[in-house]
């Protein structure tokens, strides 16, 4: 589905990606993590052709991204940018969500149906006639997401979707990701939020200084202290507690609350 081979990219003198290789299959949910400046956003901008490889190649659905336009690729790879204020411009929420559909040349009746579907999915239908600028931060973010989901891309890439979101919004996002996944979508999320990843993602790609330093099962990545420190992250708090208690026999590879609960109860002899 997405195949990246020995990808190099640099901005003027700064090398951002140094030989990235990876494969993402249809229906996967993948988190890309790493410190600021690790190259995460640069990498995902290659998935819809915004950036073209300087060396190596990126293939999406078998198409070399150098041979396709951003518009062609975007139709199948939806990229949700971090800050909704970088894209909202229309007079109403409805028009904003219809923007991409119009650009891709869908007929009027299809646009109407898709927009309605996307607005309802993100609980924005009551706000459809409002100006996007009049909405709260969380609502604006949802409009941005709706404007991508409306045209039903096969791959959906989120850049830092949890930044500045409260707990309820994050829960909602997690549910949305699961819903999209159940409809056969491939989901890629760039994030720093280890708890969010531990709870929702089976696979993590860990990046540092333009290289992939780990690409594995989430538990193996997030409970590997030396690896995760290398990417300037902290393990999930539950895992940190397990580390602290490891002298007493608590296993170190705990990531979920119920696992910690069981391990601690076992420790105090209640199970």
């Amino acid at each position: 589905m997405i195949e990246v081979h020995d990808l190099w990219y640099s901005y003027n003198e700064v090398i951002a990606l140094r030989g990235i290789s990876l494969k993402i299959e249809r229906g996967e949910i993948v988190a890309i993590m790493g410190e600021n400046g690790a190259g995460k956003t640069t990498l995902i901008k290659h998935f819809n052709g915004l950036l073209k490889p300087m060396k190596g190649y990126v293939k999406v659905f078998g198409i070399d991204t150098r041979k396709a336009t951003v518009a062609e690729l975007s139709r199948r790879v939806g990229l949700v940018f971090q800050n909704p204020d970088h894209q909202l411009f229309a007079e109403t929420v409805e028009e904003e969500v219809a923007f991409a559909l119009k650009n891709f040349g869908y007929p009027e009746n299809v646009i109407k149906k898709r927009v309605e579907w996307a607005l309802k999915l993100l609980d924005l239908y009551d706000l459809k006639d409002q100006s996007p600028y009049a909405l709260s931060g969380g609502e604006r973010k949802r409009v941005a997401i709706a404007s991508i989901l409306s045209y039903d891309p096969d791959i959906i890439v989120f850049d830092e979707p949890t930044v500045g979101q409260d707990y309820a919004q994050k829960e909602r996002l997690a549910q949305l990701i699961k819903l999209l996944w159940s409809r056969g979508k491939t989901i890629i999320v760039v994030t720093h939020d280890v708890e969010f990843v531990a709870e929702n993602f089976p696979r993590v790609i860990l990046m540092s200084r333009g290289k992939i330093i780990a690409d594995d099962n989430t538990r193996r990545v997030l409970t590997n202290l030396s690896l995760i420190k290398k990417a300037k992250l902290n393990p999930p708090q539950i895992t940190q507690i397990a580390f602290e208690l490891s002298d007493l026999g608590v296993p170190k590879d705990i990531m979920w609350i119920h696992e910690a609960r069981d391990a601690i109860l076992r420790l105090v002899g209640k199970i």
Partner: protein, 253 residues
């Protein structure tokens, strides 16, 4: 938006960087005035070419080339509009004039530290508030350019094709980029004002400055040469009628 790159300050240590900002301002304004009084396309082209060595000396040619690439669309626009309204001679003159103006201000902004700018303006008796507003506007340019790049990426990801369609459609394509850019800039300026007030901006009427500007020998030298050349050219224009010696449309006759 690449046109903005030529107006982002770049730290450097060349002789152009070290010139007093007032001298550089005087230079840019002289070139600007000269480019406005001449209507001969050959002279305007020569004026433009005369600025180019400065970019090389200041080691900022790369940035300026990008600005030129970014301004191609505007130059074509200027040429076409003038071609249909004023004819080919004026169209060429206007295009070269535009290039000259970009170049003379670009060298100023590329090589002058923003703080020096406000200091120079204060020395020229501009009230501090205005000087600060001016330098902050310059400071905004790099972040505005960065923001513009992100917005373009975001809209292209939603299927926007900037160079699609006829001329009117092409202009319309920029609406989804300009609206967020302007709205964000206004929002940011409100935030900056709040941040400044919370750091007691304007609390004491008399300010002291960290940087003291002083004209050195090379500043005076540059200033004098600049003044002489400018006056000579103005003299040549009005008293020697120099423009008649350069046949217009040399390329086409």
């Amino acid at each position: 938006m690449r046109i903005l790159e030529g107006f982002e300050f770049k730290r450097g240590n060349t002789i152009i960087h070290k010139l007093d900002p007032r001298v550089k301002m005087f230079y840019s304004i002289s070139i600007f005035i000269l480019s406005m009084i001449f209507w001969n396309s050959i002279i305007l082209l020569l004026l433009f070419v005369s600025i180019l060595p400065l970019f090389y000396i200041a080691k900022v040619s790369q940035k300026f080339i990008r600005t030129l690439q970014g301004s191609i669309f505007l130059i074509i626009l200027i040429f076409v509009i003038n071609y249909f309204t004023l004819g080919i001679e004026r169209a060429l003159a206007m295009s070269f004039r535009f290039l000259t103006i970009i170049a003379c201000f670009s060298i100023l902004f590329l090589t002058t530290y923003p703080e020096d700018f406000s200091e120079a303006l204060v020395k020229l008796k501009v009230p501090y508030e205005f000087a600060l507003t001016f330098t902050m506007a310059i400071r905004f340019v790099p972040s505005l350019a960065r923001e513009a790049r992100i917005i373009i990426d975001a809209q292209r990801s939603r299927g926007l094709e900037l160079d699609k369609g006829n001329f009117i459609k092409k202009l319309k394509n920029y609406i989804p980029i300009l609206v967020p850019l302007i709205v964000n800039a206004i929002r940011k300026s409100i935030k900056v004002a709040e941040a400044m007030e919370s750091r007691a901006f304007g609390a004491s009427p008399k300010r002291t400055s960290l940087i003291e500007l002083r004209l050195t020998l090379k500043d005076y030298l540059f200033l004098i040469i600049n003044l002489i050349v400018t006056l000579l050219l103005i003299y040549a224009k009005y008293y020697l009628n120099i423009e008649s010696y350069f046949p217009l449309l040399i390329f086409f006759s």
